[in-house]
């Protein structure tokens, strides 16, 4: 081993902190059990979806005249406050390193201006090509990735992408069947493995809920001023209500489209408080709420509403 390699090794050991013996916290044990239950359920659901897809494909092959409809256009819902209207267009999508135009925000000085004491109202749509993740991260993706919606927040671009996953590829390991890109930036030329920011959310679909936030409760970090809710909703759900602990209530729309017929998708930016997400049917019936929890820092379970029992 060269002198340089020895220096690298000793530097790494000095900065890693020696691993200490840990005991499994009870809260972590409960989270594992919950995650395991939803994971098993999600696998069963994925298996069913693949089976259904095979049946549909078989039907198409047997009846070539009944050709499958062309992929629907990307919806560009105009959402301001509680009103929702939808127009459509078919922008092309882009793969590969993130375009320079996405190198926009996350400036540590500017970021706190988002959220905390105001609702963040994204402007959906825009005259630009929505970003889709790079091709080499598509391991495990079934079919193509769908740009569900895109737009700007305070002038900064975002795109929300959904896709099917076989639960084994990179996409799943990184967390999911839905990706949200915001304030993207490449870490620079020459680094083939880094393309910018964003995050994923897994689709371990829980039973008994018509709407859920795909990321685990408490995924927001301690100190975050707002939580980004990425989730899915069943065909029963017409819209959603976010009710925070201080009584603040906001209606948010369900985005339709994507790889699953009838499924709805949720994208909302919520001030970081505990609360609940209530799915509401077209006739006004309120369905079982999903908790909105807030992270409390390393090793601590998220703070959740009192009624929620993991």
């Amino acid at each position: 081993m060269s002198d340089l390699e020895s220096k690298v090794r000793s530097t790494l050991r000095r900065h890693a902190d020696p691993p200490s013996l840990r005991t499994l916290p009870p809260a972590t044990r409960r989270r594992i059990a919950r995650r395991r239950a939803t994971y098993m359920g999600g696998e069963a659901l994925a298996g069913t979806a693949v089976l259904l897809a095979a049946v549909v494909l078989l039907g198409v092959l047997r009846h070539p005249a009944d050709t499958a409809p062309a992929p629907p256009p990307v919806p560009m819902a105009s959402v301001t406050g509680t009103s929702t209207s939808t127009s459509t267009s078919t922008p092309s999508t882009t793969f590969g390193p993130v375009p320079r135009e996405y190198w926009s925000m996350l400036d540590p000085i500017a970021r706190p201006t988002y959220g905390g004491d105001v609702w963040i109202s994204p402007t959906f749509g825009g005259d630009f090509v929505p970003y889709v993740d790079v091709v080499d991260r598509n391991l495990g993706v079934i079919g193509r990735k769908w740009v569900l919606t895109y737009g700007t927040i305070g002038g900064d671009r975002f795109s929300m992408v959904v896709f099917g996953s076989d639960g084994q590829g990179d996409s799943y390991n990184e967390g999911g069947n839905a990706e949200f890109f915001f304030g993207y930036q490449s870490s620079g030329p020459g680094d083939s493995g880094a393309y910018g920011g964003g995050f994923g959310a897994s689709a371990d679909v829980p039973a008994g809920y018509d709407a859920y936030v795909a990321s685990e409760p408490g995924r927001t970090a301690a100190g975050d001023r707002y939580a980004t809710l990425l989730g899915a909703a069943s065909p029963l759900v017409d819209h959603l209500l976010v009710v925070l602990e201080d009584g603040w209530t906001q209606q948010i729309p369900v985005l339709r489209d994507g790889p699953v017929d009838g499924a709805g998708w949720i994208l909302a930016f919520v001030p970081a408080q505990t609360g609940k997400l209530i799915p509401v049917t077209a006739d006004g019936t309120r369905l079982a709420p999903w908790p909105i929890c807030v992270g409390q820092g390393a090793g601590e379970p998220p703070a959740c509403p009192a009624w929620y029992v993991p």
């Binding site: 493995g193 685990e216 090793g299």
Partner: protein, 180 residues
Amino acid sequence: MDGVEASVPEAIAGVGGEGRTAILEELYARHFGRAVAVATLLTGDRFLAEDLAQDCFIRAAARLGRTDRELRFEAYLQRAVVNACRSRFRRSAVERSYLARHRDVSAGGADHQEENADRDVMWAAIESLPYRQRAAIVLRYYEDLSEVQTGEVLRCSPRAVNALVSRALSTLRLQIQEEA
């Protein structure tokens, strides 16, 4: 790999209640601290590393017991941690860029010269590496993984691992010489 870990996927499938808890506790005691250390080296933030490692452990532990494919817990956890840190690394790219610019501008002042002289040059150089090079260095020289094992975690060939490590060492050598 020791006997306990090798037998975990098969053993845990038919275990419930306290037996399962005991296996999870042993895995936690054995691997969690190390996962935090790797995440710390990849993110440079101990608190963030704790959060990421916790999420990754939960994800890996929830998958234990699958019998349809081989699942080596430690390897899965390592890969999950590297992937999670990579996602985080991308997200914080703009912050790093901003802070680097800020640091460059402010480093010219006399007040900072003494501080700069004292800082850990090697660590600063490692932190400036592109993510995959940094991950390769951490896995090879901290985790002591072979080229093949590192390639499994990074999803590339041993040859590509060699190239990553080689480029990283060249960069480090150059930066240290410049600092000197």
